[in-house]
């Protein structure tokens, strides 16, 4: 069995999210070094604030200022910070109940080591230098020996617009492995061959193979080389140029049933005017140097295939 293929796969996206009235006020407040909570009907103050009471589901809107000082309610020492976390040096994760709040906020505590941290310890917010209206405007917490802060006591008014949305970039790194069947398919392509797998039950040849027959629900293993020639089973004419695509429009995109395959692949048809492509056209792959798959398919010059020869593959 050939070695299973692996490649890095990065999934990255800047999630753009709009805020409701309560979250908008809270994050605008953070930008001004002001922490806001929201009051529930029974008089609790939730920090961070939410739009609906987690107990009664009642809509909440009464914002109240709380202090930038507070008490650790629980903690965990993180000796090996990971990418994206608030501090690059070892720190404690903490839940902090700010003075004036009834619930706790999750953040990081900058402390010299785990012996310097305990539940019940007093801490204060260390504000980020550049604040944009995000939870990261709180750079972290730090130990605090002094008096409890005044609600709203650290406010720095700004004339910036109210924060109505956040952009939260997310990146996850994977090592992608396509599994046995698809690895074999890709390996074969590197020698310009196309291999499928035959279902032991219905005898259909799947290209590309995924290791299972979706009709019978059984594993496939028997490798079968198909093509290189094939038949156009159906096609469309593309008139709109895709961004970053270096192909002149109009061009033809087709389903191509390679000889011996039990279902059709996708491919572009070239070497023939777009308006002369037809069902039944016999085609062969055209490879370019260093390519991992055929650039396009061109007519072989053979007579067209009979409809009956490919009607099951439409």
């Amino acid at each position: 069995m050939p070695e299973v293929l692996k490649a890095p796969l990065v999934v990255e996206f800047p999630f753009t999210r709009s805020l409701g009235p309560v979250q908008s006020a809270f994050l605008t407040g953070l930008r001004e070094r002001l922490v806001l909570g929201v009051r529930t009907a029974d008089g609790r103050t939730l920090v961070p604030p939410v739009e609906y009471d987690p107990v009664t589901a009642e809509e909440l809107h009464e914002l109240v200022e709380v202090a930038a000082t507070g008490t650790v309610t629980t903690w965990a020492w993180n000796h090996a910070p990971r990418r994206g976390q608030p501090l690059a040096t070892p720190f404690a994760w903490v839940l902090v109940r700010l003075d004036g709040a009834g619930t706790a906020l999750l953040h990081a505590l900058d402390a010299p080591g785990p012996d310097a941290v305990h539940t019940g310890m007093r801490v204060r917010i260390r504000w980020a230098e550049n604040r944009t209206g995000a939870i990261t405007d709180i750079a972290c917490f730090e130990p605090h020996d002094g008096e409890p802060g005044r609600p709203g006591g650290e406010r720095q008014e700004s004339d910036g617009e109210r924060v109505t949305g956040i952009v939260a970039p997310a990146r996850l790194d994977y090592t992608y492995s396509p599994g046995r069947a698809q690895s074999a398919y890709i390996e074969a392509l590197s020698t310009r061959r196309t291999v499928g797998e035959r279902c032991p039950s219905c005898r259909k040849v799947y290209v590309p193979p995924r290791g299972a027959c979706p009709t019978c629900g059984v594993p496939t293993a028997e490798q079968v080389e198909v093509g290189p020639r094939g038949t156009v089973t159906t096609f469309c004419i593309v008139n709109i140029k895709a961004k970053n695509l270096d192909i002149e429009v109009p061009y033809v995109y087709a389903h191509i049933a390679l000889d011996g395959a039990g279902l059709a692949l996708h491919g572009r048809i070239g070497g023939i005017p777009y308006d002369q492509v037809r069902m039944g056209l016999r085609v062969e792959p055209v490879w370019t140097d260093g390519a991992r798959y055929p650039d396009h398919y061109r007519p072989t010059g053979e007579p067209d295939a009979d409809y009956d020869a490919y009607k099951e593959l439409l």
């Binding site: 299973v4 692996k6 796969l9 999934v11 999630f15 999210r17 805020l19 979250q23 994050l27 939730l46 920090v47 961070p48 939410v50 987690p54 309610t73 629980t74 903690w75 965990a76 020492w77 993180n78 000796h79 990971r82 990418r83 994206g84 976390q85 994760w93 839940l95 619930t103 706790a104 906020l105 999750l106 953040h107 539940t119 995000a134 939870i135 990261t136 956040i166 939260a168 997310a170 996850l172 790194d173 994977y174 090592t175 992608y176 492995s177 396509p178 599994g179 046995r180 069947a181 698809q182 995924r210 290791g211 299972a212 027959c213 979706p214 009709t215 019978c216 629900g217 059984v218 594993p219």
Partner: protein, 356 residues
């Protein structure tokens, strides 16, 4: 809900269960290649073919493999042509089982195939799981799954309900009993290790692994035809707590207790419990919420500390509990599944065998 609350509804049972070995990596297998042997195994146990199944429901998460709609490719393993009645939950398969159970209750189907799978190995699971957190206040800080569990463990220690050696005992016991479970990933003696995130050591944390599981449900007489001792679902319920960790009492699991009440757990003693407690401290929280004393055999499979394939570990708890009833080793078992940080969501089922 329990059957007793709704007279006239059908009896539904788990009639077969299968699972893969859970492995740290399965590079050589695509998701469907990993899943298919389990689907065949569970069908073989009942003699059913995919075409005989009335409803199919699966659980998985695309974030694990980092590919959109990966569950649709997994459907190849079921044989979805000609068309089948099918659904998917972006959750642990225990919740897919709940959906299948409701489908059978409607009478639209007599049998259901439930499967779930997770390949955690392609990514960094601790980072991947941050994406299930509140995207406004929490996810931008990237607190990983072990860190959040460590906050819960410290809260339990502060409350005087555990200490580090008590936590270590749970991990040690789980892996010791797992020596009898050939599917488990960590079996036998495993060093307690260094701190992962203090107070949790590596021994308090679940192994990261790939795996899949499947069960078959059947209603009424169909269940008796397919299984000599069906595991009847006497009650099943799931509950969720506030998303914000700072709102919750992390030393307790009121959602588990409420789900258990609604599933009828407390009406009569159970003899067996399969708890989905990925971190050692969570077993203490769950035992308290479920009022389990030493008379109950807890996690004879080794539980999630021995094997925790994401999206399948909860369904495996259902399957392990059911399999004990099938084998005559239990008469009334509790099965629990969790999802989300610090036991945020909890599902509880009561399974019973026919009187002997």
């Amino acid at each position: 809900m329990t059957r007793e609350e709704t007279p006239g509804v059908r009896d539904i049972a788990i009639v077969a269960f299968a699972q893969t070995d859970v492995l740290r990596t399965t590079d050589e297998l695509s998701e469907v290649e990993m899943l298919m042997p389990v689907l065949h195994s569970v069908l073989d146990r009942t003699g059913l073919k995919t075409a005989d199944i009335g409803f199919t429901c699966s659980g998985s998460s695309d974030y694990l493999a980092g590919r959109a709609f990966s569950f649709t490719l997994a459907l190849d393993g079921v044989g979805a042509w000609p068309p089948i009645s099918e659904s998917h939950v972006e959750m642990d398969g225990a919740w897919a089982l709940y959906e299948a159970w409701t489908k059978l209750l409607t009478g639209d189907a007599d049998t259901a195939l439930v499967y779930s799978y997770g390949k955690s190995s392609p990514g960094s699971l601790r980072d991947v799981l941050t994406r299930q957190l509140d995207p406004y206040y929490v996810a931008p800080l990237w607190p990983d799954s072990v860190a959040l569990a460590a906050l819960q463990a410290q809260a339990l220690i502060d409350a005087g309900e555990a200490d580090e050696s008590a936590l270590a005992t749970i991990g040690t016991r789980s892996r010791r009993v797992a020596t009898l479970n050939s599917h488990a990933q960590l079996r036998g003696t495993v060093p307690q290790g260094d701190y992962a995130v203090r107070p949790l050591r590596t021994g308090d944390c679940p192994p990261v692994g790939d795996g899949a599981a499947a069960v078959i449900l059947a209603a009424g007489e169909r269940a008796r035809e397919l299984c000599s001792r069906p595991a009847w679902i006497r009650g099943i319920d799931h509950r969720i707590e506030a998303h914000s960790l700072g709102v919750r009492d992390l030393t307790d699991s009121p959602s588990t207790r409420l789900a258990a009440e609604r599933a009828g757990v407390f009406e009569r003693p159970v003899d067996t419990a399969e708890l989905h407690a990925p971190f050692s401290a969570q077993e203490i929280v769950l035992r308290k919420a479920l009022r389990l004393d030493d008379s109950v055999r807890v996690n004879l499979s080794g539980g999630a500390l021995a094997a925790n394939p994401m999206m399948a570990a909860g369904l495996i708890r259902m399957g392990e509990a059911a399999a004990r009833i099938h084998r005559g080793e239990s008469d009334r078992a509790l099965a629990h599944a969790t999802s989300g940080p610090c036991l945020q969501q909890n599902l509880v089922a009561v399974l019973e065998g026919d009187a002997r």
